[in-house]
């Protein structure tokens, strides 16, 4: 499996560390209430299809990236820097 790092290009999976769903980029406001925090901390979708995950290019350039991939076909659809994903507010 190769993942496309936005900085380094296509690299072997073993250079990356998996974090989990990219929902981690959407931290709720401190006053958001228990339901929003419950979703943020505990509740995850388990999609059979396109999903967005956070990966850390630990053995490479040290960037956090959001990788879009398809869990049903194993197709890797693309990636962007986590900092950009957060700025774009599209980390859902």
């Amino acid at each position: 499996m190769r993942l496309p790092c936005p900085i380094c290009g296509a690299r072997d999976r073993r250079e990356f560390t998996y974090r989990g769903a990219a929902v981690a980029l959407e931290r709720p406001d401190a006053e958001a209430g228990p339901e929003a925090w419950d979703d943020y901390v505990h509740n995850r979708d388990n999609p059979a299809g396109v999903t967005r995950d956070l990966w850390y290019h630990e053995q490479g350039c040290a960037a956090w990236i959001v990788v879009t991939r398809n869990t049903a076909t194993h197709e890797v659809l693309g990636s962007i820097l986590a900092s950009e994903a957060r700025r774009a507010g599209s980390a859902s």
Partner: protein, 181 residues
């Protein structure tokens, strides 16, 4: 007063010669990590050029010449190798001294690429990884910086604490590659 002798990271481990391959240590005077402040990349590059004679390298590239090199070293990070950093650089970037922190090895000779291919998942084909190209990657499960210096010459850097492990792994791989030649 005890007089301590400086010891390079690979002292006593290299040079190693196996067939046409050799593994040597480069012990540069200074190594400085340079992290440009946001929006200061162009100004830093100008300052580097004025002070040390080379522009900031692009992603995955090395600039400068032997003795004074600037190596792309990760996301928004450059490693200045050789000279002590000019004091003026602090206006544009955060500097941190890495001298003695990294082991710098040079693997040379026919089959050097085949040796590295046993250790790293990088695509090292000459069409993809040319002279002056550099990458941060995995080398025998250690975080490394790998740079092509020539057709059959590579620079491999790992943390100083991993120097002996890297030399050990390279020695085994060199023997296996030479055995097949």
């Amino acid at each position: 007063m005890v007089d301590l002798k400086p010891k390079t990271p690979c002292a006593g481990l290299v040079p190693l010669r196996v067939g046409p391959l050799s593994l040597l240590e480069d012990a540069p005077g200074h190594m400085t990590a340079i992290a440009p402040y946001l929006g200061q990349d162009a100004a830093l590059s100008e300052a580097l050029k004025a002070a040390h004679g080379m522009a900031a390298p692009g992603v995955g590239r090395m600039s400068g010449t032997r003795g004074a090199r600037a190596l792309w070293f990760g996301q928004r990070m450059i490693l200045l190798i050789g000279p002590a950093p000019d004091a003026g650089l602090v206006k544009f970037a955060a500097l941190s001294d890495q001298s003695d922190g990294w082991a710098v090895l040079r693997l040379e000779g026919q089959g050097a690429g085949d040796v590295l291919a046993r250790m790293t998942p990088l695509d090292l084909r000459p069409t993809q990884f040319k002279r002056g190209h550099t990458a941060r990657s995995d080398c025998a499960h250690m975080p490394a910086s790998i740079t092509r210096l020539g057709e059959d010459a590579f620079q491999i850097m790992v943390f100083r604490s991993m120097a002996a492990t890297l030399v050990h792994e390279l020695k085994i791989a060199m023997g296996r590659v030479v055995a097949l030649q």
